[in-house]
Subunit: 360 residues, 2 copies
């Protein structure tokens, strides 16, 4: 599993990452058991509070600060007719984000998450547009069916952008990070990555994306199969960074970088759907300790998402039949995560409230 991406670069990406603090998880569990509720009766919220305490490594007295990053990029594979929408929709949706009209804008506003839109590879000239984080590596990836989607240098650049933005978010006081994307064609990339990481057949890891019709769906499955066939020699497992380079996208690389930075800076990293989870799965492949920092915001309708969630052993917070991306499922899970933290911090204990415990 030697990667063609330089060893020194990988060392830098994983430097300083340590798993969540199990002592703090334990302390949080103990405190949760003293609060005025039957033992364990807050279910998943208790797990989340304990996980956040373990991630942050303290008693969560700090204010919650939420940010959402949407990474946008185009995909060379769209020339194979894998998407229900034309490629220019990536550009159009970036403009929609900037004018506050997209679903993620509405949700980020309602739930108090600072929203950042990052051009990491959209096939459009945004040079003069304010409000966008300008980090274009290339105007879209190459067509994975013909060649590697990215060069080694491009993968490194895109990963570094996500990593740096994650580090900046942490420095600015962010505690919970939602990670989302926009990129016509990117479910095809995520499906191919999912096949390689989980060993699933293309037909099980490929969904209808934004809504391709049956014929186009069959074509999409064939494209995924052919891309894997082209790049993956079954005799040798690929390093996750090479999976990313051959089959990924610039936004997927950037998200993987942000996941690594999130773990490095001990942020709660909330994944959105299929694409962001594919990025997280690559980050975990690069360094398994990353896993403990992840919360799966929701269960997407894309079939490949379930494969990745099982692979990562993540249980999504929400299951609402969404399949939009943009970080919507991640931001929608934030009120639940914030609720878990607030309950942990603010509830009275049996003794402070003078409530009797369970009858022996």
């Amino acid at each position: 599993m030697e990667s063609k991406v330089s060893r020194a670069f990988i060392e830098k990406l994983i430097d300083g990452i340590a798993p969540p603090n199990e002592q703090w998880r334990q302390k949080a569990r103990q405190r949760l058991d003293t609060l005025t509720k039957p033992l364990g009766s807050l279910g998943r919220l208790e797990d989340i509070a304990a996980q956040v305490a373990a991630i942050r490594g303290h008693d969560l007295a700090e204010p919650v600060s939420k940010a959402a990053y949407v990474f946008a990029a185009d995909h060379g594979v769209t020339e194979e007719g894998v998407s229900a929408y034309p490629r220019e929709v990536t550009r159009q949706m970036v403009l929609n984000f900037l004018s506050e009209g997209a679903a993620i804008n509405v949700l980020a506003r309602l739930h108090g998450a600072a929203l950042h839109v990052v051009d990491v590879g959209v096939d459009a000239d945004f040079a003069s547009i304010p409000g966008l984080l300008h980090h274009k590596v290339r105007s879209g990836t190459r067509n994975m069916l013909r060649e590697a989607a990215m060069s080694e240098e491009e993968v490194e650049k895109a990963l570094t952008i996500g990593y740096q933005l994650g580090s900046e978010a942490a420095a600015a006081g962010c505690t919970i990070l939602a990670i989302g994307e926009m990129g016509i064609g990117n479910t095809t990339a995520a499906s191919a990555i999912t096949c390689v990481l989980t060993g699933a057949e293309a037909k099980f890891a490929t969904g209808r994306g934004t809504g391709v019709q049956p014929e186009a769906y069959a074509n999409k499955v064939r494209v995924v199969e052919a891309a894997i066939m082209k790049h993956c020699n079954a005799a040798a497992a690929l390093h996750p960074l090479d999976v990313l380079r051959f089959l990924g996208g610039l936004e997927i690389a950037a998200m993987a970088g942000m996941v690594l930075a999130g773990a490095r800076h001990r942020l709660v990293v909330v994944l959105d759907g299929f694409i962001s989870t594919s990025a997280a799965a690559l980050a975990v492949g690069i360094f398994p300790d990353v896993r403990g920092f992840l919360i799966a915001g929701h269960r997407s309708e894309e079939p490949g998402h379930k494969l990745l969630l099982d692979h990562l052993q993540l249980n999504p917070v929400l299951s609402l039949g969404m399949r939009l991306g943009e970080g919507t499922g991640a931001v929608l899970a934030m009120p639940v995560i914030e609720s878990a933290i607030a309950l942990y911090r603010q509830m009275a204990t049996f003794s402070s409230a003078r409530v009797s415990g369970a009858t022996p």
Copy 2:
């Protein structure tokens, strides 16, 4: 199914209730399909937005106003040893609500729901306590194993309290109502109600409540069986109000009244867990058109809750393994419901944002 409760009283309870407006549901669906997202990609959120439009009967331009009601009462059946906690915990938890230390306080505060705590039958003297809505009908129900839990007059009084509070909430501009409860022993009442309404055996409708141990659980099942045996003659179906009177609780009656008022005033009625859903199932039994106004906030861990949800054909918004009550699961679902409304109202359309539609 003649009830002993007066026909005139029932007529008053159901007066003016009409089902949700299907034209508005349709209009909402049409608008949702013009928004900048793949068709249907917001999943359940789209269903919720359309349901809320149908309930409110307009385009949702009004501000969202959220309230949560917690109805507290004691249960005579606690003398049979059915709960893990002593009866005085009902009183203690009411005091905890009033001093803002309970889970529901934390969640209502975080999510901006006005919280109202109603004494409808706690076995304690709260006369001098401010901040509590004083509507005690009786200091707890009678033991359903020996006699009807309530008299006809008591059932009517408790239903009327919930109905009036629901009407007052509507008059005050509330649009979304969360309904919760506190009452040691009330999972036993809800289990018995569930058996009668769904035909389930006691062992399938009875759970561990606040956490009884195996021996106490077996006793709880026996109590539920015996109560049904005592009051229900298999030869004649009981009217829902008689099910309520024989087996229910004062807080369950009040919640049923509030559900009916919610439907009457076209509010979005968000149910919490097992107990509030048992109240809603009785309200739907009284008048089926009520069903369309209900949103199941979450799926409780109590096994009887699933039976009731299936009976009502409700699909809960959240599934987080909670089993606390107090309205916590209902209030936790409110950010999702509010998200659905905000997306419906605030997202750009394909034409306004100049985003291309799907490729034909």
